[in-house]
């Protein structure tokens, strides 16, 4: 196995998050009743014609630029002709030899092209016996197809590429990129060759992978299969393989069409798509800072660990929230510590207000434990930190008399542990401090409690 290498290229289809479809006004809402999101155009009624959605173009250009592509001023739509019941026109409007964009790069992988096309409807085979049920709600939803060069050499690399791709597309907000909902779909082209060989082996197409981990496993399985064929002196047959996630294996697909002669020709119902330089530059200017650039900047600007940076950068809104908090607080480390674990609903609390809360912790006005309680309340009540602290009476208690009183109570309630601590088991100190904190409902100044305990 080790004298063979895997060669992988990925074709990723991404649904663009427009309100209406690519070529008609029908809504793109997910999960609607069958066939309600349709109209003469996407039903392919006689006489209907396509008109391209301007927002789909904008999102496609944004995605292509974020992937480092060269966006072409002129691109042409083409018809890809084949018969299938969920393809109402009997052809798909796509792009062929004049695509929207070419020559990009992502995570060390070349991107051959990004082009626009429309989605097909859904065929449901197991709802009725002997029949297939067709739902055309999805027919006509705008897609971009992102085709990579066969640059990947392992299943892990493929997975990393997909994760990076998903992150970048989230950053530029062009799609929900949710594999479960079908807004991101992956097909793979896999071949095997002896290490050192430069010629590409025969590739197979692998489909039906529904998760990133499924992609990784499917690639491994297909690679193993191909190597076994080659090692036994056979030749790999060019065919479509399907991943069976339940069984954990790949198997050949029964062919849907004897030959895929798509008879591409330029779409006569759509003149060329012409984009001005200023249109493209405008979109480029408005691109948000992409993950890689952000990671680099965080490393230079903030003294945070790689782990912390990765966690923050992974989520665009989280990263933005972190920066605002860090700026307001003047302390990136404290901000990062708090923000990295935040849920998206918690982001409703304004960064400036979180900064106020964290400032109180820094000044020693409240304990870290108290801060958590106060924050939960802030989320619900919408009030500012100082007010909540007062209302809940959570300002730290630092006077020695009150603290000693609590220590005395803890000692009385936990005589065994106290005795052991006094006898020299210093590790029980943390426990005892914790008990004092609990008794004080978080108000005690833990530093002072520690000091007083040691004096005992």
């Amino acid at each position: 196995m080790s004298n063979y290498e895997m060669v992988v290229g990925l074709e990723v289809h991404v649904q663009l998050k427009t309100k209406t479809k690519a070529f008609c006004d029908s809504p793109t809402t997910f999960g609607a009743e069958p066939n309600v999101n349709t109209c003469p155009v996407c039903l392919a009624l006689p006489g209907a014609l396509p008109v391209l959605n301007a927002h789909a173009v904008e999102l496609a250009v944004r995605a292509a630029l974020a992937l480092g592509c060269n966006v072409h001023r002129t691109s042409i739509f083409a018809r890809k002709n084949y018969f299938y019941p969920d393809l109402p026109k009997g052809y798909q409007i796509s792009q062929y030899d004049r695509p929207l964009a070419t020559a990009g790069r992502l995570a060390g992988v070349g991107i051959t092209r990004v082009h626009m096309e429309e989605d097909a409807g859904k065929s449901i085979h197991d709802r009725y016996t002997g029949a297939t049920a067709i739902d055309l709600n999805r027919a006509g939803v705008p897609l971009i197809e992102i085709v990579s060069e066969p640059d990947m050499r392992s299943a892990q690399e493929a997975r990393r590429y997909l994760q990076t791709l998903k992150q970048v597309l989230e950053y530029v907000d062009v799609s929900d990129v949710d594999m479960e909902k079908g807004s991101l779909r992956v097909d793979a082209n896999v071949s095997a060759r002896r290490m050192g060989e430069t010629k590409l082996g025969t590739k197979t197409e692998v489909k039906n992978m529904n998760t990133f981990s499924g992609v990784e496993k499917a690639l491994e399985a297909e690679f193993v299969r191909q190597v076994a064929v080659l090692e036994s002196g056979g030749r790999v047959v060019q065919q479509t393989m399907l991943w069976d996630g339940a069984k954990g294996e790949v198997r050949p697909a029964r062919s849907k069409e004897e030959s895929h002669d798509y008879r591409y020709f330029p779409e006569p119902d759509l003149p060329p798509l012409v984009l001005s330089d200023s249109y493209i530059e405008e979109i480029r200017r408005a691109l948000p800072e992409l993950p890689d650039a952000r990671r680099t900047r965080y490393r230079e600007q903030y003294a945070l660990s790689d782990q912390e940076i990765d966690e923050l950068v992974a989520d665009q809104p989280l990263a933005a929230y972190f920066e605002e908090t860090a700026t307001a607080l003047g302390d990136a480390k404290s901000a990062a510590n708090w923000v990295r674990g935040m849920s998206s609903s918690a982001l409703a609390v304004r960064p400036a207000q979180l900064a106020e809360l964290l400032a109180m912790v820094k000044k020693g006005v409240i304990s870290h434990t108290a801060a958590k309680t106060i924050f939960d309340d802030m989320e619900k009540s919408g009030e500012r930190a100082e007010r909540v602290a007062d209302r809940l009476g959570l300002r730290k208690v630092g006077d020695d008399d009150t603290l000693r009183q609590w220590i005395v109570e803890v000692k009385a309630e936990n005589p065994t542990e106290w005795a052991r601590f006094v006898a020299g088991e210093t590790k029980l100190q943390k426990l005892l401090v914790g008990l004092v904190m609990k008794k004080s409902k978080g108000k005690a100044d833990p530093q002072r409690v520690n000091e007083l305990l040691l004096l005992h």
Binding site: P40, A44, G90, F265, L270
Partner: protein, 433 residues
Amino acid sequence: MNANFERAAGLNIILAEDRDARPSVDEGPLYDVPVAIKDNIATLRMPTSCGSRILEGYVSPYEATVVSRLRAAGAVIACKTNMDEFAMGSSTEHSAFGPALNPVDRTRVPGGSSGGSAAAVAAGVVPIAFGSETGGSVRQPAAFCGVVGVKPTYGRVSRFGLVAFASSLDQVGVFGKTVDDAALALRIIAGRDPMDATSADVPVPDYRAAATRPVSTLTIGRPIEYFPDALDPAIRERCDEVLDRLREQGATIRDVSLPHSGLAIPVYYIIAPAEASSNLARFDGVRYGLRITGEGLTAMYEATRSKGFGTEVTRRILLGTYVLSAGYYDAYYRKAQQVRALITEDFRRVFASGVDVLFTPTTPTPAFKLGAVSDPYEMYLNDIFTCTANLAGNAAISVPIGTVNGLPIGGQIIAPHFGEQTMFAAAYALERL
């Protein structure tokens, strides 16, 4: 409803009537005028069957833009007219619902594919009718029936609701008894439509104003390729007479050349069937129209399409599929599109040289007898003078210029892109002769 349906008796030119139709508004330039619509244009109250079994009885749930505009102008949509199936033909003999007859001589064809609409005007059923043009399907029947037929510039009129045959060639066309009626009707339906990405954003002038342009201001080109030695001598004579009379009235007549004209039929019969083979793929029995079940899905597709389509449509789908298929695309389709560009350039060059319009015969012969032409390619040659304007996108009109052996013939005016005003000016002049 004042369409004169009795005049259609025995001609098989009407496929559906709407005797209850009334104007949709209280006033308008076409108020209460009954109009006939070719059966491949979507209407809400009558079927749109395109002369085909595969859409027999299909009533569209939406209406073509041109029909909306006509109703907004007060017109009454009176009937749907017979046609060659899916607009493929030059005689209306290829209708699944029987051939239409020429009102001038019932043993002869009215032309095609918009034969029913041409005949409806010729017979006096309605004053104005609408058809579609892909290779001459309005001008040729207009010439055969002795009425006026207009093909607008490609993109002048919306195709939304016109069942597509060849998308880069199709346009809705107009029939009228007079040039004036046709000019009025074109103005109503012309103009940009946001539902058709190929419709042009060019203002629509008042075409009837062209009636007053003096013919002495026109330079008329006579393209030599349209007056070949083999041209019917009676047609040649009549055309030359027309040009002489125009010259007498002060028009400048000039011989010109459109050297690639002879390639038009091969180019047209590659491009049109290719686009048609794709446009007709939607007729699969899944969502509307005829469905014939068989063992499984593929059997349903094949049975539906084989029983639903007639012989000419089947022939053209096969031809179109072939010229697009792997290995043949470059030699046929791509080559044809390139030669098409040469044909377009011929017109552009001539119009740029100071010629305002061109004058040619509309057809090589008058209306032929039913059943007289059985060879497919011989039938295609009917389009020889008309299909160049479809390929190049230019505006063109056929105006009756007399008879040959009692049968009407048409004179054709071809104008530059969006030069309908000049085209009508010449047409008015022709009509006045």
